[in-house]
Structure formats: C-alpha cells, structure tokens
C-alpha cells in the first residue's frame, strides 16, 4: 500500500492541478504485459549478420599471438575484426564531458586486462557459425601478474593494471583521489567522548536486465548507419560511437527507446561501435547482442566498494567529525567510475550536519571486469555503510536509533561538507513519518522538529 500524506509541509503545497498528481496508466504497460512491445531484437533485416566476441581467458596477459586460420575456415564466417579494423580503437565514454585519458581499447591490442576483455569480433551468417569460429580462435598469452584487491592495487610494487592511466588510481586534478576537506576532523577526534571506526565492503552486483545489452546496425542506401539499440542514452551512444568510428556525427542515427531493463548498465558503449565497424566493412546489417553469461560476467557491474568510517561522537549522540576512506573498484578501465567516485564524495557524510568532515574517495583499477554506472551510482553502497554506522553508534551509546538520526539530521541552512547550503531538506519528516508508521514512539521534542527551521 502506498499513500500520500499531505499533512507535512502544509504551507508549501498546491492543489490546483488537473493532470499532475493523478494516477495515469504507464504508456508502455499494456504493450509489455500483452507481449506486443517491439524490442530491437524483433527486427530481422534481410541479410543480417551475427557478431560474437572472442574474449580474454586470462586476467592480465600479453597477447603473444592470435591465430585466426581455423576460425576463418568455419563455414559461414564472413570476417573477423581485430583492433586494426577499428578507426579510433582507444576510448573512454566520459570524454564527452571532458574526462581523460582514453584508456580502453574496443578490441585488445597487445594486452588483456581482465577475464573477458574483447580481442576479436567474428562476423558470420549465423550465430552458430560465429560461436564456432570464436571457439577456434587461438590466442597465445604471456601471463602478467594481476591484482584484485583495491588496497593491494594501491600498495607499492603492485602490478600496473592500465598503463594509459599510469597508476592504479584515477587522477583527480593532480590528486590520487577525490578529496573532501571541511572543518578539522583531527580536532574533533581529540575532543570527542567516543571514537568509532568500522569497515564495510560490497561485491560487484549485476544489473540483471531481462533483455541483454545489444544492437542491430543497418547500413542505409545513403551511406548512413541506422543503429537500433537498447541504450539508455541515444545521443551519448551516438556521439561516442562517431568518435570511435572517426565519422561525422550525422552519419549515424540511433533508434531506441524500448529497453528491457536498464538500471545504468546500458549507458556503457560496448556493442554499437564494433557492430558499426562490422556493418561498414561488410555493407550488411549486423547484430551484436550479449549472451546472459556476457551480461553477468563481462558487462560492467555495480562497483565493489570498501569503506572505512571513523566518527567523533559526543555522549549525547552529536557527531562532531567523520573521516571516510572510500575505495571504488573500477576494474580494468575507467568507464563512468571517475564520475561515480566524485558523486560518492558529494554524498558524504550522509544526510547529517557534521561540522568536520574529511574524505578520500579513491577510484581504483584492478584486473577485473570494469564496473560502471548502476542505479544509485556512488551512493547505494555508501548508504549501506553510513546507515550501518549510525545503527552501531546508537547501539554503542544505548540510544534510540531514530533519535540519534534526528539529532544529527541536516536541515535547511546547514552548510554541507561540499560547502553548498542545504535547502528543501526533509530527512526529519521522513523519519517522523516512518516512526509513526511502525508505532515507534518519539518524545514531543523530536516530533516537533522541522527541517525548515534552522538550528
């Protein structure tokens, strides 16, 4: 059951709407539940070719040789693409907003950096022929040392994951991490009645869309490419693809808008560029769609994170200072992780007015599947850590966990750790409402608190 409670913030409401605020059936609902919605895979243009990827079977290795002879002999194989076929093989998707450097090859050149790194793309008349050829590609590897733990990756002497980055961390304007410096945490720790320090960790999580990532590229009579894609971001995909192809932007057209589950996983640019190259080189429509295995183990997951939180707390529950060290496991390539790590820094120290905050948020490279955007990017795992921390502080002080939160909750006018003044806050009210929903009694002074009243 979901209900609207208009008793909060009474002075800020408006009720003269005719369409806004009314229940309207979702435009795509009937199509989805009756099976009539057309997804990109419902298209079967004549002459369609299938692309399947030969991927690294090592975590980190030099490629000593690639033998395509057996694969090319498979009946139905039209072409096998290598890095030499990709006009601008090296990219990073956030170059569109100024992020550098290009650090990821579309197809591996001389090194693979994670299990599943793409090496060669087989283009064939049938999916079966493409799979058969992929199985017959013989790659000779020279193994390199690999690193999988974020803190080990940052230790001296760790193997270098990505030489384009130059370090096992993303560099933020000369710093080895995204920093947050607000007040003086050391002074807070010296003054605190209690200091609590705990560690939290997560593992990579899959977006698990019903429809896997994919596209069908159809060459047009006028030389343009029409790309049917389940991307979450049409122009973002178009612009990145054009840069990789080295073509004018208006040579490409994306037709999308129907997505069988996105959750952030379909913001990566992982199928369109190589499928476009295949379509240009063969002048035939090409389909490249991830298998379920690729979706689970090769497509970027939600990053694993490790978070250390150290708090300076007074006997009455007030948090004087919070020091956070965050490690975001970006995997082998940057993709959207530098952005997500900055977003995590902006989120610290959670929705609380803490006068002294220090955070180092590291975007770390390891030899695993690159992670990328996912629902709650930069925030979801931080919230697990921050709110577990609040519960533990309440337990340690033998305090009501909701009163501890209300006492520290940010309000309008508070200066956040990133030095923006808070407005439109409502943490106090959602806590009050949740308490009422479960019959958790709060004393009058806590029921009277308001986000709109400064402290």
């Amino acid at each position: 059951m979901t209900s609207l409670d208009k008793t909060f913030f009474p002075g800020e409401q408006r009720d003269d709407f005719t369409v806004i605020g009314s229940v309207t059936q979702r435009a795509d609902a009937l199509g989805h539940v009756t099976g009539r919605t057309a997804f990109f895979e419902d298209l079967t243009p004549p002459g369609l070719l299938h692309l399947k990827m030969a991927r690294s079977q090592r975590h980190h290795a030099r490629i000593a040789g690639v033998d395509l002879s057996d694969a090319l002999a498979v009946d139905g194989v039209v072409r096998i693409l290598t890095h030499a076929d990709i006009p601008n093989n090296l990219y990073t998707p956030l170059k569109l907003i100024g992020v550098e450097p290009d650090d990821e090859p579309i197809l591996a050149e001389d090194t693979v950096r994670y299990l599943g790194d793409p090496i060669c793309a087989v283009v064939a008349e049938t999916e079966a022929a493409a799979y058969e050829a992929v199985a017959r590609i013989r790659v000779t590897y020279q193994d390199l040392p690999a690193v999988f733990d974020v803190e080990e990756a940052l230790a001296e002497g760790a193997p270098l994951v990505n030489e384009y980055q130059g370090h096992n961390y993303f560099t933020y304007e000369g710093h080895h991490c995204r920093r947050l410096r607000f007040g003086d945490v050391d002074e807070a720790f010296a003054r605190a009645d209690h200091v609590f320090e705990w560690r939290y960790e997560s593992a990579p999580i899959e977006h698990a869309p019903t429809e896997t990532t994919g596209c069908i590229v159809v060459p047009q009579p006028d030389g343009r490419l029409r790309i049917h894609s389940d991307t979450q971001a049409c122009f973002f995909t178009l612009d990145n693809t054009a840069l990789i192809l080295g073509t004018p932007f208006n040579k490409l057209r994306i037709v999308g808008g129907t997505v069988g589950g996105g959750f952030g996983g379909k913001v990566d640019i992982v199928v369109e560029p190589v499928a476009c190259v295949a379509a240009m080189l063969t002048n035939r429509p090409v389909k490249f769609v991830y298998t379920r295995y690729e979706e689970m183990q090769v497509s970027s997951p939600r990053a694993a994170e490790r978070i250390y939180i150290k708090d300076a707390v007074m006997n009455d529950g007030r948090i004087l200072g919070r020091k956070i060290i965050l490690y975001v496991d970006a995997g082998a390539y940057a993709r959207h992780s530098p952005y997500g790590t900055t977003k995590a820094a902006a989120h610290m120290p959670g929705p609380y007015a803490i006068p002294n905050v220090w955070a180092d948020c590291h975007c770390v490279f390891t030899n695993r599947t690159p992670s990328s955007a996912m629902r709650g990017f930069g925030v979801t795992i931080a919230d697990f850590a921050l709110e577990s921390q609040m519960d533990r502080i309440a337990r340690a002080l033998e305090m009501d966990p909701l009163r501890l939160r209300l006492l520290n909750a940010y309000r309008d006018g508070d200066m956040k750790a990133h030095r923006k003044v808070a407005e439109g806050t409502a943490l106090i009210e959602v806590i009050q409402k949740a308490a009422a929903m479960v019959g958790h009694e709060l004393p009058a002074e806590f029921r009277r608190m308001s986000s709109a009243e400064g402290r």
Partner: protein, 334 residues
C-alpha cells in the same frame, strides 16, 4: 534453534540530476491539425514511466486532457538532444524542458483562440476537457481541434514551442571538494522487519515500511512502482546478489539466473509506503528524481534488522546464510 525477529532502520537522501550538472535535455512540441500535441524528444523511457509523466506535464500546462498528448521519442534524427536516462534526471530535466515548450505553445494556442473568439488572450482559460473559453462566459469557447484547424488553414500560424533545461556544469575545487553537485535532494526512511533462522542462516524480510519525500508525486501510481520495485531491488542486493561471491577472489562467478539468485514473488515482503511532498524550486511542478534511490535505504535497514534479530553485525554485502551462520558461530564461539 529458532526463528528470531528483528527490526532495523535507515534514513537516506539522494541527489537529482547528473552530478555537477552540465546535462541538458530539450523538448519540442507542436499541435497537429487534429488538436493533438506531439512532444518530440530523444529521451529513453526505461519503463519507469518517463513518457507518461512528461505527457502529464504537457497536458497540465496546455490545459488539455492527457489523451491529447503524443510523445515521439528516442530517434536521434527526429528528437532534440537529451543527455540520457540516468542519474535520476529524466523526470526533472525532461519534465522541465517539456513544461517550457508547452508554455510557449500554450501562449500561441491562446493567441489563436483569441483571434477566433475576438477577445483578448488574457481573458481566456482552458477547461481541461479540450476547450479554450472566455473566463466568466464559458459558453463562448472553441474546441482545440477547431482551434488547431483555424491556426493552420485560416491564420497561418504554428502552435508550437521549444524547451530546454540545463543546470550549468560545475567543477569541484580539487583541494577541498567544494562543489555544486545536485539540483535538489529527495529523502527516505525505511524500516525493515526480518526473521532470521538461526539454524540455516536464511534471512526473510517480513515487512518493509517506506516513507519518501519526493517533492511532488506527478503520478502516484508510478511513484508507488518506483518505491516498491526499488525496495525489492534493495532487498535483492542485501540478501542475494554478487557477480563475485567471494570478492575479491574472481572465482565462482554466476553465469545465469539459476546461479545468480534474486527474490521471486514468494520472497516479496508486505510493503507499506508513505509519500511526502516538499516541492523543489527547480523541479517540474516541484518533483525530485527518485528513480535510483529507492533501492538504497532497504539495504542498511535489513543489515540493522539482522543485528536486532540475532546480534550479528554484517559488514559485507550480500548477507548470505553463510555469513549469518559464521556470525552466529563467532558469537557463540562455535
């Protein structure tokens, strides 16, 4: 051996829009001669209901029924630029762009009606059912279809409008992290009630209570969908999901849904959700973006409920039976 029940709390906030801004979206709107308005976008509806809520925004501004709006989107040849559907930005950015476009189109619509009715445009209002009428003299009115025909065939005018929303890009100060990351913040508090089987380590979420403050519920049905669907995802993250179950070891990675488990219908708890509204100045009719945040609070709420139930503090996700049992063993020295 027993089933132990516990209750846990978590309170969170979440930013609307691409971090640091710089993520514009555009909308174009025009009336066809049928009196239907076409909203042209390149934005992607992920199933969250973007097309539905932006059509509601257009209908509200134009003063027309929802059925008079068509949304044509996700073709880069025909739709104006949109940064994409992520960062809880769709409703906020695209909603604002559509409102701006519809406001411009409404002005033309009223000007055309004023000429047809031979009155001043300032004296006109929309009745919400498809008519433009004179305030205080409602019998003097014109239907949107007649109005659109007149604009095209008699007056030679297009009823159209352009809209864009852009929060200018902000750059953080490298030394301090000073920045302007967001357009607004939504808020949530989740209470989870769990049962922990201390013999098997299995955690069952029995009930979840969610209180959300989202600025404005543009469409209460899609809000409920986000809140309940997100709670399911949070519960799934908390108890089941990892592509690397023994992270940072790379082994035992699941390859399909028989190995990568998620809650099914039988696992879904009873949910009670309440929506609060504190309209955001920057939001379309005050709405904030809640597309992402709904998975967040359930995770720590479940972790805290497990502790409440059995005294095991789980600091690594997911909270598998193995981890619960190891935690119980550590408590009893077993």
């Amino acid at each position: 051996m027993a089933i132990r029940r516990g209750r846990g709390y978590a309170a969170v906030n979440y930013p609307t829009g691409m971090n640091l801004g710089g993520d514009p979206s555009q909308a174009l709107i025009h009336a066809t001669t049928t009196g239907t308005f076409v909203v042209s976008l390149s934005s992607v509806d992920l199933g969250q209901g973007l097309k539905t809520v932006v059509a509601q925004c257009a209908a509200e501004v134009l003063g027309l029924p929802y059925g008079n709006i068509l949304v044509d989107t996700a073709d880069t040849d025909t739709g104006p630029h949109c940064m994409g559907t992520f960062a809880s930005r769709g409703t906020h950015r695209v909603g604002n762009a559509v409102i701006m476009a519809a406001t411009e189109a409404r002005e033309v619509m009223l000007a055309v009606a004023a000429d047809e009715l031979e009155v001043d445009a300032g004296d006109l209002e929309t009745d919400g059912s498809g008519f433009v009428q004179v305030k205080g003299a409602e019998q003097k009115r014109i239907h949107i279809t007649d109005l659109a025909l007149a604009a095209h065939f008699k007056q030679g005018r297009t009823i159209s409008g352009r809209g864009i929303f852009l929060k200018e890009k902000n750059d953080p100060v490298p030394e301090t992290g000073e920045m302007d990351p967001d357009s607004c913040q939504a808020h949530a508090c989740t209470v989870a009630v769990v049962d922990v089987d201390d013999e098997t380590g299995v955690v069952e979420v029995v009930t979840m209570y969610n209180a959300y403050e989202i600025g404005r519920a543009l469409n209460p049905a899609t809000v409920a969908q986000q809140v309940e669907g997100g709670a399911w995802m949070g519960m799934s993250h908390a108890l089941f999901e990892a592509t690397e179950p023994y992270y940072p070891a790379r082994s035992h990675g699941p390859a399909d849904f028989s190995e990568y488990l998620m809650p099914t219908a039988a696992d879904i708890p009873e949910q009670h959700s309440a929506i609060l509204e504190r309209p955001a100045e920057s939001g379309p009719f005050g709405a904030k973006g809640i597309g992402e945040m709904t998975a967040n609070a359930p995770i720590p709420a479940i972790a805290n409920a497990i502790y409440d139930a059995c005294g095991v503090r789980l600091t690594a996700m997911p909270f598998t039976p193995e981890r619960v049992l190891r935690g119980l063993d550590a408590l009893t020295g077993g």
